[in-house]
Symmetry: C2
Subunit: 244 residues, 2 copies
Amino acid sequence: MKVTVIGLGPGAGQDLTGRARAALEECDLIVGYTAYVELIRPEFPEKECLATGMRREVDRCRLAVEKALEGKHVAMVCSGDAGVYGMAGLVYEVAQEYIPIDIEVIPGITAACGGAAVLGAPLTHDFAVISLSDLLTPWEKIVRRLKCAALADFVICLYNPASHSRPDHLRKACDILLEEKDGDTPCGWVRNIGREGETARILTLRELRDEPVDMFTTVFVGSSETRVIGGKLVTPRGYATRRG
Amino acid sequence: MKVTVIGLGPGAGQDLTGRARAALEECDLIVGYTAYVELIRPEFPEKECLATGMRREVDRCRLAVEKALEGKHVAMVCSGDAGVYGMAGLVYEVAQEYIPIDIEVIPGITAACGGAAVLGAPLTHDFAVISLSDLLTPWEKIVRRLKCAALADFVICLYNPASHSRPDHLRKACDILLEEKDGDTPCGWVRNIGREGETARILTLRELRDEPVDMFTTVFVGSSETRVIGGKLVTPRGYATRRG
């Protein structure tokens, strides 16, 4: 009948929008990656849930589409936003292979916005979002994007800065950025945004290079205008200088 | 006592997160730009509200900080996210001039995520967010960012694509992007995201150049991988090709 792809926000519960909550209440079945289903299940204890493991993205989307074709209203849950490195794209791709079904996407707070709020206001001006995972993207393409983002003087938000199989991607990325950017550029990272054990740190790009991060961390690299104000990471947009 | 800067999401009401709603219920006073205060006032009819006009950003933040210093819990509301071209940065800047107060930022759904959900899933891979407003940013800097974003093959999300005083900024931006990108690149725009009169269109970059847009419109320009699938704008991340 229908697949609604829902962004849960970084911490699920309190980060859910009213629209996302209403769709979860209305659906017949919640489908998602095990960790995200576990995050949301306590809020909707009476709902049927189907969880699939890591790297089973295509299977998960097929399952959602096939359950919808059986007549169910399926809620496919994603952490953060449903679209930003989320499952919304793949649901559309997979659904092509079947008879047409109704697909709706309900956005959620992505880690760029959630993490920025913890650090202060680093994204008040133009920014780029880049994943450092080369599982699905050639590393050369990631390098080119980092170089161009530095040349553009974007604030840069890095998703998937590291994992067990690629512990040194953040260091490599910082080295590329340091070719264009000052080592004193204010940066920050947030781990477990909106969840238990949320931690954050503000530091320089030079320090960031050697910082241990993991797959639950989102990293922010300032533009030439980003500053630390009152212990927070802030990219002024220019209002204050316009009016004094 | 405290300023909580709150992102209302694109359409306010149903796009509010639980955390944003709780903060609005708890606050003593809502401060914001007139249009955004009007958007949220019906949901919290008993709250004291102070609205200020367009381009009064610094005054608005001073008002919020000064009311907090009087002992109030002030909710400063922004459309979309509190940080992405929002007031969070300026609140930190303005607050420096006073004795320290507690400032909290509660993120909201930004137009990039809200608009993407309407069009399909254009932001499933790396992207850049650029404002075409040159009120606070030199046009040369905007041009450089557009060029670099095209070279990086980012999906590009454009905020403030036009206004009365700069009706041709989107055309100029498209001409810059067309130097690097194919005229057939799938693009889209959404107007009044999540509000009454929401409209959207998917079209090519060549067509986008001549499209009439306004300040309530958010524009999406695809990367080389963005496609139209089932009438929706989708940037595949590569899951489907990895696993067939």
